[in-house]
């Protein structure tokens, strides 16, 4: 059967990284400095929180849903991490992760049990998380004590041989997520749910549980993203993670995980995040005027999505 596929179809799965390389080269043509390894490492490490959040969101989009609560969960996480740091130390990280997991699971239960579409349920749960963040922070920007921050999370802010530890952590997280996706039962089930949910149910799998799990994972990763961001900024505020949501969704979509589910995955998101990072940085390299940046971003986005998404498995484009 593979003989029937046209060249474009076979190339399709390679389009995301080809797009990434092309964008890199285009910016590199403008200024070769851009391609210097340490510059790329810096660029990548700036995007660590966004990457972590996008990786989590990948699971939800992979099963055909959407998670709009990530940003609010990250906001909540920055606050919870900051206020619990003096009492819990590294445990603050654990607390935050559990909080994210719970918030995500709530979205999942509301979506699967109460049959509220994820677009709405996650938006609503995001509102709840935001309220928790605002309440816990006393509606103030908080900052971490330097000594406590170094003691508990010093390992996260340092670098070894020019490689920031946060970047290493992010890559480990991506690797773990990738492992879950391709080598573990939940990942396989997510793929099957995205591809053909009725077949999953007819195979005797409790699909609902896995759907809840996907949302819970997304919530956990969003909290983790908030934690890393909070440690980097050594503080927390219920608005600190503003502006994460749309770039994270865009990163997943540009990477080639369409909203229909079952296609794409964590590695696509890694590439997608890098595309977003490069496109954003390119505005400085091409000296895009302040008022034109949004237009530039939107247009590049359309071009990128038009090239990266695999339409062969979409019967109806909605």
């Amino acid at each position: 059967m593979s003989g029937d596929l046209t060249l474009t179809e076979r190339m399709r799965r390679h389009f995301p990284w080809i797009t990434l390389v092309s964008v890199l080269l285009v910016v590199g043509m403008k200024d070769i400095n851009f391609l210097a390894p340490e510059n790329l490492v810096n660029l990548a490490s700036d995007f660590v929180p966004l990457l972590i959040m996008a990786v989590g969101m990948t699971f939800v989009i992979y099963i055909g849903g959407i998670d709009l609560s990530s940003q609010s969960i990250a906001n909540m996480a920055t606050v919870l991490a900051t206020i619990s740091l003096p009492a819990l130390g590294v445990g603050a990280g654990l607390l935050v992760i559990v909080a994210g997991l719970v918030a995500g699971a709530v979205s999942g239960v509301v979506t699967t049990r109460l049959k509220v579409p994820s677009f709405i349920s996650t938006l609503a749960v995001g509102g709840i998380a935001l309220s928790v963040g605002q309440y816990a922070s006393g509606q103030q920007a908080l900052h971490m004590d330097m000594a406590q921050r170094l003691h508990a999370f010093g390992w996260l802010v340092g670098q070894t041989a020019g490689i920031p530890h946060a970047l290493v952590l992010a890559l480990l997280i991506v690797a773990a997520a990738w492992f879950i996706q391709v080598r573990m039962v939940p990942g396989r089930t997510f793929k099957a749910i995205g591809a053909a949910e009725p077949a999953v149910i007819a195979s005797g799998i409790r699909a609902e549980r896995y759907r809840v799990l996907a949302f819970a994972l997304s919530g956990m990763f969003a909290a983790l993203a908030g934690l890393v961001f909070s440690v980097r900024l050594s503080g927390g505020s219920p608005t600190l993670a503003e502006g994460f949501l749309l770039p994270a969704i865009v990163a997943v979509l540009v990477g080639g995980t369409p909203l229909t589910g079952g296609v794409g995955g964590v590695l696509n998101t890694l590439i997608g995040t890098m595309i977003v990072a490069v496109v954003r940085a390119s505005m400085i390299y091409f000296s895009i005027p302040a008022t034109g940046q949004q237009i530039f971003f939107g247009v590049v986005l359309i071009i990128a999505i038009a090239t990266t998404i695999d339409r062969s498995k979409m019967r109806i484009v909605k």
């Binding site: 593979s2 029937d4 080598r183 195979s203």
Partner: protein, 501 residues
């Protein structure tokens, strides 16, 4: 006059229509028969423009036409009454009747509902259906929807110059006797305006209604019979191409089942939403066929056994153990496997490869601590690819791209390799070609010999008779008659049909 000359069609390398010649005269009623997979549905799709033929020509009144869409065909007076619902459920009856042809009712941009309702009533009167045209379609019964489908096609009458050609695809399968009589009288009455192509599995109806009968086999027209001189036996023979012999269904391999070992028992189970009570026993090695007309309630029984429906009353025992909670997961854990009719939707997950599909129901066995042992999965897939001679390039092939027969083998391998002892087969040979069917029959015999209990909802009655040890005839959700079906003492088609309708 509507004519097909030497029409050819290939799908993904499969030669579906091989030089078909077909002719229908004005006012004629043509019966079209053939086994599933013989190419009937493709031929009809070519006629009403849903697919384009590769070679040959379609002629209307001697002039070659090229239908690029069903709409083109409609403009030439060719309309289709679908077997599967083609009415849009959330629209009203009249909107469905005039969908895409609303223009005559529009004045100053607004649809004049009264005028449309009147026109719709006229169409409904043709099929003698007395319902409010403003009813939402999803609120109608199956039979009513079928008649609305016909009314929709008959609306072509007012729009098209010249004669109509109307394709009826299995129109009687969900209708009661009265409704069938009504339908037939409507069709006969309309002969002066339209010619009909009538497709049905019910050969008696075909003979009753048609003038001539086209018999299709393996993509070619094998014979054209005059209905006045045709009888069911000869038609059947021509459809299958040989006498329906014992070999086809591997009857030689039908062994008696183990009467002492009851795998599954339904004890006065009341199916949800039906209110009928069903009792049956399935033994190890037994093939139990449920026969009945479409909508008679066979699927709900299967779905109840599989845990997708919760019985309202009664007990369901698996190996003597009464079930308390119902879910597919629980049934699978108790060794029940389900081969669904909608193979592409519920059977295989397209986009996933062979081994991923095979282990979907049994990932627990191929993982440790949640980590999948892909090596073992691949080994399993390779083993079953060999065992069932599944034609795939490798275990990495995407199941969505396999042919129907190979997909079905993958689904069967999924349950067999997982050790399921009770297998529910819902139309397992639907849309398969003869070769693949024979393979599936062989697998059913293998499973039976291995002591697996099978409940079969067959594609055709012949299949049910040929394969099963026991037959339960279902009507209106109840088991009306049991037949013992040992080799040599099998009931005839008529025995069964008598109790079905």
């Amino acid at each position: 006059m509507f004519e097909l000359k030497n029409v050819e069609k290939r799908y993904m390398g499969v030669h579906v229509l091989k030089g078909v010649d077909f002719r229908i005269d004005d006012g004629e009623i043509i019966g079209l028969v053939g086994e599933n997979g013989a190419g009937k549905s493709t031929l009809m799709k070519v006629m009403y423009g849903a697919v384009q033929h590769d070679a040959g020509s379609v002629l209307v009144d001697g002039a070659a036409v090229n239908f690029r869409s069903p709409r083109d065909a409609m403009k030439m007076g060719v309309g289709m009454v679908y077997q599967e619902q083609s009415l849009i459920p959330n629209l009203t009856v009249m909107e469905n009747i005039f969908l895409g042809f609303e223009k005559p009712f529009v004045r100053f941009g607004a649809i004049r509902w009264k005028k449309m309702a009147q026109a719709a009533r006229r169409q409904l009167a043709k099929v003698k259906l007395d319902i409010d045209p403003a009813t939402i379609t999803s609120h109608l019964t199956f039979a009513q929807r079928q008649l609305v489908e016909l009314a929709k096609v008959l609306a072509l009458e007012e729009r098209v110059e010249g004669r109509l050609v109307i394709l009826l695809d299995e129109p009687t399968s969900v209708l009661s006797r009265d409704e069938i009589d009504l339908l037939f009288s409507v069709v006969r009455a309309l002969r002066r305006r339209a010619s009909f192509i009538f497709v049905s599995h019910r050969l008696d109806e075909i003979i009753d209604l048609s003038d001539r009968i086209y018999v299709l086999k393996d993509g070619s027209v094998v014979d054209v019979l005059d209905a006045r001189h045709a009888d069911i036996g000869t038609i059947q023979k021509k459809m299958v191409g040989r006498d329906i012999n014992t070999e086809y269904y591997r009857e030689d391999r039908q062994a008696p089942y183990d009467e002492d070992k009851v795998l599954l028992e339904l004890d006065h189970v009341r199916i949800a939403g039906r209110g009928n009570d069903v009792s049956l026993r399935l033994h190890a090695g037994e093939v139990l066929a449920l026969v009945g007309v479409e909508g008679s309630g066979r699927e709900p029984i299967l779905r109840t056994i599989f845990g997708m429906l919760k019985p309202e009353k009664g007990t369901l025992r698996i190996r003597g153990e009464p079930m308390r909670a119902f879910s597919p997961a629980r049934s699978v854990a108790h060794g029940v496997g389900y081969v669904p009719r909608e193979r592409k939707v519920e059977g295989i997950a397209s986009g996933m490869n062979v081994f991923e599909n095979m282990t979907l129901s049994q990932m627990r066995n191929y993982s440790r601590g949640g980590v999948l042992d892909i090596g073992a999965e691949r080994a399993l897939a390779r083993e079953w690819i060999g065992k069932l001679s599944i034609k795939v390039p490798s275990e990495y092939a995407d199941c969505g791209n396999l042919s129907g027969g190979n997909q079905q083998k993958v689904v069967l391998a999924k349950w067999r390799s997982g050790g399921s002892e009770i297998i529910l087969l819902d139309h397992p040979t639907r849309g398969l070609d003869i070769g693949a069917k024979v393979d599936v029959y062989g697998m059913i015999r293998d499973m039976s010999a291995a002591g697996v209990g099978i409940i079969l909802v067959a594609d055709t009655l012949e299949e049910a008779i040929g394969l099963s040890h026991t037959i339960a005839v279902i009507k209106d959700g109840e088991i009306r008659k049991w037949f013992n079906c040992q080799p040599g003492a099998k009931p005839s088609l008529y025995d069964l049909i008598q109790h079905m309708v």
